[in-house]
């Protein structure tokens, strides 16, 4: 099996067959397989007519980046730089990721008893100088992605209209929404499993020699 077709989460966490983390993942083998299948459906789509492969990588790179999930951010940034060549999209995106980083979730509830739990926070927009480079479709996509990542409870019908007005089709919006939401899932699976791996490492550390712990590090 080529590196490309190997399981991405195993790859980014350096999970080897038969390891403790491998056993934990294979305990839910159908989920494990379908988490990978969803990744392939998003990044090697059967139908790329409504969202281009490059658009998918730009959005994924942005979403992993603003989450601060470094290994996945590197993964998507690398794929993007390979796909993009030298148009400068990668450096624009690096700057936008820094501008977009904040702490979520925040946003407003519908007016009523929950209003006291409303939490304010930045409403991200792409920097003026970057808008032409990205183009109106990607500008709208990144601004929507930021809404979905950080202030999802501010979501609205009007936000979808902005995407339609920028040239996204209904099925393109469904794919874009799945892409951002899948990434929000994927970064948490990786964060969570990395923490479990680190905790086993600590347990090993306290009992056995250090080299074992080093081997478990990812």
């Amino acid at each position: 099996m080529s590196a490309q077709s190997a399981d991405l989460i195993d790859q980014v966490l350096s999970i080897s067959p038969g390891s403790r983390l491998d056993g934990l993942r294979r305990h839910r083998e159908v989920a494990r397989d379908n988490i990978q299948r969803a990744y392939l459906a998003l990044f090697e789509p059967r139908d790329a007519s409504q969202v281009t492969p490059l658009e998918r990588l730009v959005v994924a790179s942005f979403v992993a980046g603003v989450h601060g999930q470094l290994v996945l951010a590197d993964h998507y940034a690398h794929k993007l730089s390979v796909a993009d060549g030298s148009t400068g999209l990668s450096s624009v995106l690096t700057a936008e990721i820094e501008r977009g980083k904040t702490h979520g979730p925040y946003g407003n509830y519908p007016e009523g008893p929950l209003s006291s739990e409303n939490k304010s926070g930045p409403h991200y927009t792409v920097k003026a100088e970057h808008r032409d480079i990205l183009g109106s479709r990607l500008v709208a996509a990144l601004e929507h992605a930021h809404l979905l990542v950080f202030r999802l409870r501010d979501s609205s019908r009007e936000a979808l209209q902005v995407l339609l007005d920028a040239g996204w089709s209904t099925s393109g919006i469904v794919t874009l929404s799945q892409l951002v939401s899948y990434l929000a899932f994927q970064v948490r699976i990786v964060e969570g499993l990395a923490a479990v791996a680190a905790s086993s490492e600590q347990a090993v550390n306290s009992n056995v020699a250090a080299p074992l712990a080093a081997a478990a590090h990812s």
Binding site: L24, H27, V30, A31, A41, P105, E117, R188, G192, V196
Partner: protein, 201 residues
């Protein structure tokens, strides 16, 4: 020119509830007449063609199919790991933290059904994430919330608390999977449509 679908007569619920809410889309779902074999495969269960939510997601059938199969294994696989009630508690705490009133309604109901602790579940909805639910449930709730924060705050403290509450690594992995999965589901439910109040009994 495509436009979104407005629902001027709907008055969406404004509080968390265990009632059976509805959900209506802001974009046009597929109709049954439009479904090809590829779409039916994406729906996994043919009965899901009756749901606006799944018929909207069927616009991208390959992603929907993988998502549905992952969902079912994470929540329904009876082979060990976290008891179903606590998988649903994790989904509820995640939805409560993100603010998805619809998702929280469905999964709080499941949590109540499987745990028989309806009042505790209701306190999580009413009082929010500070509600004291006892050591084990608190550990699950707090782990789900920490993982739901962006960037994630999930780490050794949460794992230590889960272990102290008696969870093994298979159960902890289920907490991670269920909370992560609802960070996927909440974003779709919140952004593609709106909840509808429960029908009067």
């Amino acid at each position: 020119m495509t436009t979104t679908i407005a629902h001027p007569d709907n008055v969406p619920p404004v509080a968390f509830t265990q009632d059976e809410l509805g959900w209506i889309p802001w974009l046009q779902p597929l109709t049954e007449a439009e479904l090809t074999d590829r779409h039916w495969a994406g729906l996994v269960d043919a009965s899901r063609s009756k749901s606006d939510y799944f018929m909207l997601l069927a616009h991208d059938p390959e992603v929907l199919e993988a998502r549905t199969k992952a969902d079912k294994d994470i929540f329904y696989n009876p082979n060990g790991g976290l008891p179903r009630a606590e998988r649903e508690l994790s989904a509820t705490a995640t939805s409560r933290h993100n603010g998805c009133i619809f998702c929280a309604s469905v999964h709080s109901r499941f949590a109540s059904t499987h745990s028989k602790r309806r009042d505790d579940v209701q306190r999580l909805l009413d009082d929010g994430l500070d509600a004291d639910l006892g050591e084990r449930w608190n550990a699950v709730k707090e782990a789900a919330v920490a993982l739901t924060d962006t960037p994630s705050n999930f780490g050794q403290t949460e794992i230590a608390n889960l272990r102290a509450a008696g969870l093994d690594d298979f159960e902890i992995t289920d907490v991670i999977s269920t909370a992560s999965f609802f960070n996927w589901a909440n974003r779709l439910m919140l952004s593609l449509g709106e909840p509808v109040p429960a029908k009067a009994k």
